[in-house]
């Protein structure tokens, strides 16, 4: 295969929108209209799903009927398989929006003698196209013919003729092909389909699988050249970095309480914006989860629903632990207002986590989503993948006007570690940093608002206590010209009380 770096034409190539989330953005509007596109990849990488979604979206959303010619699965098998994506092929077939044709040849019952061509295939395809007025065609996987027909010379000549014929018919076609060892496809289909090639990949990194998609070539148009993670969820395929390209969610002016009175006061007494994203970062034991749970508790008290994704503790452990700080989550869980979803981050790939989050959020419709912690997801994944996933999740939550609270574990140590969060902090609207300040043989928990977009916020580093009454911010204690915290504060305060108690009567005289 040769690389094409052709100069971009001033005119835009006519394109057919696939309707697949994200793919149209990467390809700058879809697949080349009226031309064949090769989709290749190894077994189980989602070729058939991509083809099916291309056809279904075309038929349902774009008003372009399509023919799905399958060489590997029967029509019934195909409909059953894509039903998991919520596509009802049978119904679309009845509505004459889709035609399915299962092309099957059994090597054992075929004998070859003399000259032949594949006109039968052309006639079947042509008939299907004409019957429903198809604008789209998927051939999945035409390479299966190589196993069925012994004479590859005839087959190759006929395939070349087929792709030419598809172009002449002016249908937008997707041809799938199995990944070969040294070539894109096992039988070199890329030789015949030269306009657009999309490569799908299913890779295992650190025992976690991620699906990736790359546009290898796209003649006559600019396209995203990166590898993009994609996922196959209950609503079809979606390619990752996407919604972030369009930042058009509506900003809400409504404010919601953080559940901590003192913290609300740091945001001018009103808390954070509804639908914004809040990052709570801190080293171990600084109280991130507890602060996050305060958000939850506040939401549940307002008769709204909240959803927690826990990657460290089981639901009952969360409930038990939070009781120790005076927050009882059990009634919320029982009344169905709170859902705690606990899984191990290594259970599945990031994109699967994202799919799960999507579907749970869609089903539960919470006002608040807490992910505790996002940093645990990075154990098994690289930072760039995490950032893309988070971006996707945040965009999704913002579109739904759901407030997102994300905790993030930073390495034990000083405030300088703020920069380790640089990658994700830019995605966040509000960033709370928790820290333990060690001095005079004790640790003091502190909280500060590193940033909060679009609202005045306190610049103070505040001490807070975890008690049976929950999270409490201690009033700033600044007796002379410095802020005192911890037992220093207590000591100074009681000294001052004693002093003033002693002084008062004197003044009284």
């Amino acid at each position: 295969m040769k690389k094409t770096n052709e100069p971009l034409h001033s005119y835009e190539l006519p394109k057919a929108r696939t309707g697949i989330q994200g793919l149209d953005e990467i390809t700058g509007g879809g697949l080349p209209r009226g031309r064949p596109t090769l989709v290749c990849g190894g077994a189980g990488c989602g070729k058939t799903m991509l083809g099916a979604e291309f056809i279904v979206r075309g038929a349902t959303a774009m008003g372009e009927p399509g023919v799905f010619m399958t060489f590997e699965e029967s029509a019934a098998e195909l409909s059953a398989n894509v039903r998991s994506l919520g596509f009802d092929l049978d119904k679309l077939v009845r509505q004459k929006k889709i035609a399915l044709d299962f092309v099957h040849i059994e090597r054992s019952e075929i004998e070859e003698t003399g000259e032949y061509d594949l006109e039968g295939l052309f006639i079947r395809l042509g008939h299907a196209i004409d019957t429903i007025g198809a604008k789209r065609v998927v051939l999945d996987t035409v390479e299966a013919l190589f196993a069925g027909l012994p004479n590859h010379a005839i087959l190759r000549a006929e395939l070349r003729r087929l792709f030419r014929w598809l172009k002449d018919r002016g249908v937008t076609a997707v041809i799938t092909g199995e990944r070969g060892e040294n070539s894109l496809t096992r039988y070199g289909l890329e030789e015949y389909v030269a306009d657009c090639v999309i490569l799908l990949d299913h890779r295992i990194v650190d025992q976690v699988s991620t699906r990736r998609l790359r546009v290898v070539k796209y003649r006559g148009t600019a396209h995203g050249t990166n590898e993009y993670p994609f996922l196959i969820g209950t609503a079809g395929i979606s390619v990752l970095p996407i919604t972030s390209m369009r930042l058009d969610h509506k900003a809400l002016n409504e404010r919601v309480s953080t559940g901590i009175a003192g913290l609300d006061a740091m945001f001018g007494g009103k808390g954070v914006y509804r639908g914004s994203s809040v990052l709570i970062s801190g080293s171990p034991g600084t109280g991130k989860s507890t602060v996050a749970v305060s958000f939850l508790d506040a939401v549940c008290r307002r008769q709204k629903r909240a959803l927690v994704f826990c990657y460290e503790e089981s639901a009952s452990q969360v409930i038990r632990n939070m009781r120790s700080v005076g927050v009882d989550l059990a009634p919320w869980v029982e009344s169905g207002r709170l859902k705690i979803h606990s899984t191990r981050p290594t259970l599945q790939g990031l994109e699967q986590h994202l799919v799960e989050m999507h579907s749970l959020v869609k089903a539960f419709r919470p006002a608040l989503v807490v992910v505790d912690p996002i940093s645990n997801l990075t154990i098994s994944n690289t930072d760039t993948a995490l950032k893309a996933t988070l971006m996707r999740l945040i965009d999704f939550l913002k579109e739904e006007a759901i407030t997102g609270v994300f905790t993030s574990l930073t390495a034990d140590g000083a405030l300088a570690l703020a920069d380790s969060q640089i990658g994700i902090s830019s995605l966040m609207d509000t960033w709370l940093m928790l820290a333990n300040i060690e001095a005079n043989g004790e640790r003091t928990r502190t909280i500060q608002v590193l940033k909060s977009r679009g609202m005045p916020h306190s610049n103070q580093v505040r001490e807070f206590l975890l008690s049976r009454r929950g999270v409490e911010l201690v009033d700033v204690y600044m007796p002379e010209d410095r802020v005192l915290t911890g037992s220093e504060r207590l000591a100074h305060a009681s000294r001052a009380r004693a002093d003033s108690a002693g002084a008062m009567p004197q003044e009284g005289r």
Partner: protein, 114 residues
């Protein structure tokens, strides 16, 4: 899909007894040299080896495109042995009589297969 095939088709071939011992179906796409050759080859072969015991049905896919799916026809010409079962298929212009006989599993009469 198979229901479509059951539809009555135009029979060009000679009508033998209602249930001939050998029921053959030849799929072609128009009167191309290959399909003409295939039909000629088939008739000759049947006359010499299956005289009086066969029935040939020619299906022109240009006329009846829906019938292609039923017998899973891709290549033309394709000869399908509908009966006796199991179904066998022979693709090509049937120019090699020996191979066709093997493909149909017909015992050659008189001379040995070439």
């Amino acid at each position: 899909m198979n229901a479509v095939v059951a539809a009555k088709t135009k029979k060009k071939a000679e009508k033998a007894a209602p249930a001939a011992e050998w029921q053959l179906r030849l799929y072609v796409a128009g009167q191309t040299p290959k399909s003409v050759a295939a039909l000629d080859n088939l008739r000759r072969l049947c006359e010499s080896h299956l005289a009086g015991r066969y029935e040939i049905e020619v299906i022109d896919l240009l006329v009846n495109p829906t019938l292609a799916a039923g017998d899973q026809i891709l290549a033309v010409p394709t000869l399908v042995r509908k009966f006796p079962e199991p179904i066998r298929k022979i693709i090509g212009d049937l120019s090699n009589e020996g191979k066709v006989l093997v493909g149909l599993d017909v015992q050659p009469i008189g001379k040995a297969p070439s």
